[in-house]
């Protein structure tokens, strides 16, 4: 029982870690001498390995960028909140009951990061051919997958009579 509990907590912590790293690190979009997004832009002018931190240019649609930022932050908040709710329910739930609320909160987090990723993919860097998506973007998608999986798992899981 302890092993299962430790495994579930570890999975949830990995989810939170993925989401936080994806949102904090500015590595959603790469080109040869810049990597950028969500909060700032790292630019290497003149190919001399000197990286300069700059604001995101105003050519970005401000409302869409802020919507992506908002939903990404919300998904992190809900993922942490669902961990707290899970630990709370571990002690207060009756026997053979399901962890529905933790699952629902985790699925809200999944929805939020999905909205953020969809808006980002649809509205930014669509016509830029010489660039590629960076590790933060891919980690955000893994975060989406993990939140979906853990959310459904919490809804299906039953508290054992120990």
């Amino acid at each position: 029982m302890f092993k299962a509990l430790a495994g579930i907590c570890l999975l949830h912590l990995t989810t939170i870690f993925f989401l936080f790293w994806a949102i904090i690190d500015d590595a959603w979009w790469f080109t040869e001498n810049l990597y950028t997004d969500l909060w700032g832009r790292w630019v290497m002018e003149n190919n001399d390995n000197v990286w300069v931190y700059m604001d995101i240019p105003t050519s970005y649609r401000k409302d869409y960028l802020q919507a992506v930022q908002a939903f990404a932050v919300l998904s992190c908040l809900f993922a942490v909140f669902s961990l707290c709710v899970f630990i709370f329910q571990l002690f207060t739930l009756g026997k053979e009951k399901r962890f529905t609320i933790s699952g629902v909160v985790q699925l809200i987090s999944c929805f939020c990061i999905m909205v953020a990723l969809s808006v980002y993919t649809d509205h930014f860097h669509r016509d830029e051919k010489n660039g590629w998506y960076g590790w933060s973007y891919i980690m955000a998608w893994f975060g989406w997958l993990l939140t979906l999986f853990t959310g459904i798992m919490y809804i299906i899981l039953r508290k054992r009579a120990d």
């Binding site: 000197v50 995101i56 240019p57 919507a67 932050v73």
Partner: protein, 206 residues
């Protein structure tokens, strides 16, 4: 072993201070209202100590122009501001060179001040570096500030969630009260019904 480590780190530091250039920092863009003042900040990173011969120079290129003009120069402990060009009597040096701050203040902005301001800082002997530019955009009305929409979305979603949870618990509380009073009258009906069915069931058993 420790002494070898210390020696290599000193040598590497010495080499590093030769090959890394001075790095100048400014903002990417500044937004300001017509008639207001704007502070353009400029700072630099250098492995050398701040020299007394540190220099800051600001250069202005209007939007659409091919070349620009020099508008400010700080050298030898004295600041020289533009007294002939478009910024005469409007430019003020508000930096602190000993703290690596070469910021300038431009007062009473006008639409003709839209353009690119370039800051070049030199910290002898660390002089190999690239100047950094900040674009100035002058507006009639301030556009939506950064973070307002983000904060609004987060606040609305969290508020809605709290509202839904509160309504849910309120409904449960209210229904519980009504169910309690309902079961009082239902209990009477159910009691009669149960007695009746029990009698019916007891009948065939007999």
């Amino acid at each position: 072993m420790l002494s070898v480590l210390a020696l290599t780190s000193v040598v590497l530091l010495g080499i590093a201070s030769q090959i890394t250039a001075i790095v100048v920092y400014t903002s990417w863009e500044r937004h300001a209202l017509v008639g207001s003042d704007v502070r353009l900040s400029c700072s630099f990173f250098s492995w050398q100590w701040t020299s007394p011969d540190v220099t800051f120079s600001w250069h202005y290129r209007p939007d659409g122009a091919k070349e620009g003009i020099a508008i400010f120069h700080y050298v030898g402990g004295a600041a020289y501001v533009d007294n002939k060009g478009p910024f005469r009597d409007r430019l003020e040096f508000v930096g602190n060179p000993s703290r690596r701050d070469g910021s300038i203040l431009i007062k009473n902005l006008d639409f003709s001040d839209n353009g690119t301001f370039t800051c070049d800082a030199k910290n002898p002997p660390d002089i190999a570096g690239r100047p950094s530019s900040v674009r100035l955009l002058v507006f009639e009305k301030v556009p939506v500030q950064a973070g307002v929409i983000t904060g609004a979305i987060i606040g609305v979603v969290l508020g809605l969630l709290i509202l839904i949870v509160a309504i849910y618990y309120l409904m449960r509380f209210l229904v519980a009260r009504r169910v309690f009073s309902l079961s009082m009258s239902k209990h009477g009906k159910k009691g009669k019904g149960k007695e009746g069915s029990q009698q019916k069931q007891a009948g065939p058993l007999k």
